[in-house]
């Protein structure tokens, strides 16, 4: 089912806006959300940005640039609550919505005018006001015949703006946008295009299609079509199944202590099983990746006898790989990856192997869902005492299901 109008809704400084929903006193205040255990700024308000603070700045640098800024601890669970409120509201207004990322959504804007009983520009403003009133976060909205144009429109309208890209204003708008602003054009691609005298999005649109295909492959050509108003990528209302699911990350500093490395492996296995449970899939292969300073040091892969999400089975697959890994480097990061996934309701049960999940796995899941993550955990994770003695000291990542990209 195609649509003639695609909308892109993008929240302005989303994490900060979410914090402002529940803390009125943060409104208008230069505010930064801290990640990485409180060490660096992962999101900032426009007020803080005006002092030159950028995402990724360490806290000691940010406080120097803006001494009266207020810093807040990140809370991904709260941001997911707000994100889902935005998604639910958008689903009321539009027949089809794509949950693109935690703060961005594409939607079918074909019925926007009918819903609000207003012309398109006013209807879009009405949607923006509705989101502000009901969800509490400011958003920018772009409406256009294709995704690429809609996204370009909302990006250009920030903060708290609305832009309708139609046939009449398209040329002037695309002339005003550097080609690097296009989603999917990275620095290397931008340089390639500039070498061919393609500087603006209008230049890109006017360029020869085959030249664009030569330079940027089929993805570049898709963008070329989208800039001409031909919608190539449809709105996806549900996420395609995962090819792989990985859990892991930092080991809390470099370590060569085998007990701590094992403890991290077990914690990551528990997180992985949690994710497999959520997505209702089993794994047929388990991989272990060990990094030293974010450089892959070792990668092992083990096929499972039957598709599984059992702690025992995955543990038995991971531990020999861990034992076989080189011991002469300090480990900084580790990932455990479930691959070759299969839906739980589409597997043949086996008479000869362990069930895909044991009763113990199910009890553990039920208790943890009720009492909180890691309320019941393997005793092998106990060497990570700093995590279990101090609830603020964790290494969890933002696990939000259903969205298309991070």
């Amino acid at each position: 089912m195609g649509t003639t109008l695609i909308g892109h809704i993008d929240s302005d400084c989303f994490y900060v806006s979410c914090e402002r929903v529940r803390s009125y006193t943060l409104r208008g205040v230069p505010c930064g959300v801290l990640g990485n255990q409180g060490a660096c700024v992962i999101a900032k308000s426009y007020e803080l940005k005006s002092y030159g603070v950028k995402t990724g700045h360490p806290i000691w640098e940010a406080k120097k640039l803006c001494p009266h800024a207020v810093f807040v601890k990140r809370d991904f669970r709260w941001y997911e609550v707000i994100s889902r409120r935005l998604l639910d509201l958008l689903k009321m207004v539009s027949p089809r919505v794509e949950y693109y990322s935690i703060d961005e959504m594409f939607f079918d804007a074909g019925e926007l005018q009918r819903y609000f009983q207003l012309p398109l520009q006013e209807a879009t403003r009405a949607l923006q006001t509705l989101v502000q009133d009901e969800v509490g976060v400011p958003v920018s909205i772009g409406i256009a015949p294709s995704r690429a144009l809609a996204k370009l429109g909302s990006d250009a309208a920030k903060p708290f703006g609305v832009r309708i890209v139609d046939r009449e204003n398209c040329e002037a708008f695309l002339r005003s946008q550097p080609v690097g602003e296009l989603c999917g054009i990275g620095r290397r691609s931008e340089r390639k295009l500039q070498d061919r005298n393609i500087h603006t999005c209008w230049d890109f649109r006017q360029a020869d299609r085959l030249l664009i295909r030569d330079l940027l492959t089929i993805k570049g050509e898709a963008l070329w079509w989208e800039l001409r108003g031909d919608s190539v990528t449809p709105i996806q209302t549900s996420r395609p199944p995962h090819k792989a699911i990985a859990r892991g990350g930092s080991c809390g500093g470099k370590t060569s202590d085998p007990e701590r490395i094992r403890a991290w492996a077990v914690r990551n296995i528990e997180r992985l099983i949690e994710a497999l449970d959520h997505h209702r899939v089993y794994a047929r292969h388990i991989s272990l990746q060990i990094d030293a300073n974010k450089t892959a040091l070792w990668l092992g892969r083990t096929p499972l006898a039957v598709p599984s999400a059992s702690f025992r089975t995955i543990y038995d697959a991971v531990m020999p790989m861990l034992a076989a890994a080189p011991q002469d480097h300090l480990v900084s990061h580790m990932h455990i990856i479930a691959e070759n996934l299969v839906w739980r309701d589409r597997i043949q049960k086996s008479l000869f192997f362990e069930d895909a999940q044991s009763p113990l796995d199910q009890i553990k899941r039920n208790i943890n869902q009720k009492l909180g993550r890691f309320a019941i955990r393997s005793a092998e994770t106990l060497p990570l005492h700093e995590i279990y003695h101090d609830t603020t000291h964790n290494y969890d990542i933002c696990d939000i299901s259903g969205k298309m990209c991070f």
Binding site: Q37, E386, T391, T392
Partner: protein, 156 residues
């Protein structure tokens, strides 16, 4: 060591603002932000907004008068309180109202307030002490300090 807190101007009754001349302590972080009253430990008359006996009161922050029987301090460690070392002063628990706190140049959000203790000296003059505890890993990374206030209803 949490050397300042602020509370939104709108949360303090006008009569208290006038009585304690809090207009002099008003700050505003940007043109669109709410006005806040700054309670700084380095003020000539250090004060704290405290919820005590069912109402908001502005009370002296700690004690620096040697002729008072209250402890010469601004803060009190939870461990000290639990050891009974302050039992002779008959400390009472109080809630310190605050929106933001300052630690080593970092302003941080306070969602509900801070825990404090109130002590009356021999002349029945009150002093409020901020309760401190060992800092969480997060707080320590954020501020670089190893002790943090006792937060009400949260752990940052």
């Amino acid at each position: 060591m949490c050397t300042a807190i602020t509370l939104a101007w709108r949360e303090i009754p006008r009569k208290l603002i006038r009585r304690f001349q809090l207009e002099e302590r008003v700050i505003q972080r940007s043109e669109t932000a709410d006005k806040e009253i700054l309670f700084l430990q380095r003020h000539r008359q250090p004060l704290l907004p405290v919820f005590y006996q069912g109402e908001l009161q502005i009370l002296p922050w700690g004690n620096r008068q040697r002729n008072s029987s209250a402890p010469l301090a601004w803060w009190c460690d939870v461990a000290t309180l639990q050891s009974g070392a302050w039992a002779q002063y008959h400390p009472e628990p109080v809630e310190i109202l605050a929106n933001f706190g300052l630690e080593r140049g970092v302003w941080f959000l306070i969602r509900e307030g801070l825990q404090g203790v109130l002590i009356h000296d021999q002349r029945e003059q009150p002093s409020v002490y901020l309760l401190l505890q060992p800092a969480s890993h997060y707080y320590q990374v954020m501020t670089g300090y190893h002790r943090e206030p006792v937060f009400l209803g949260e752990q940052i």
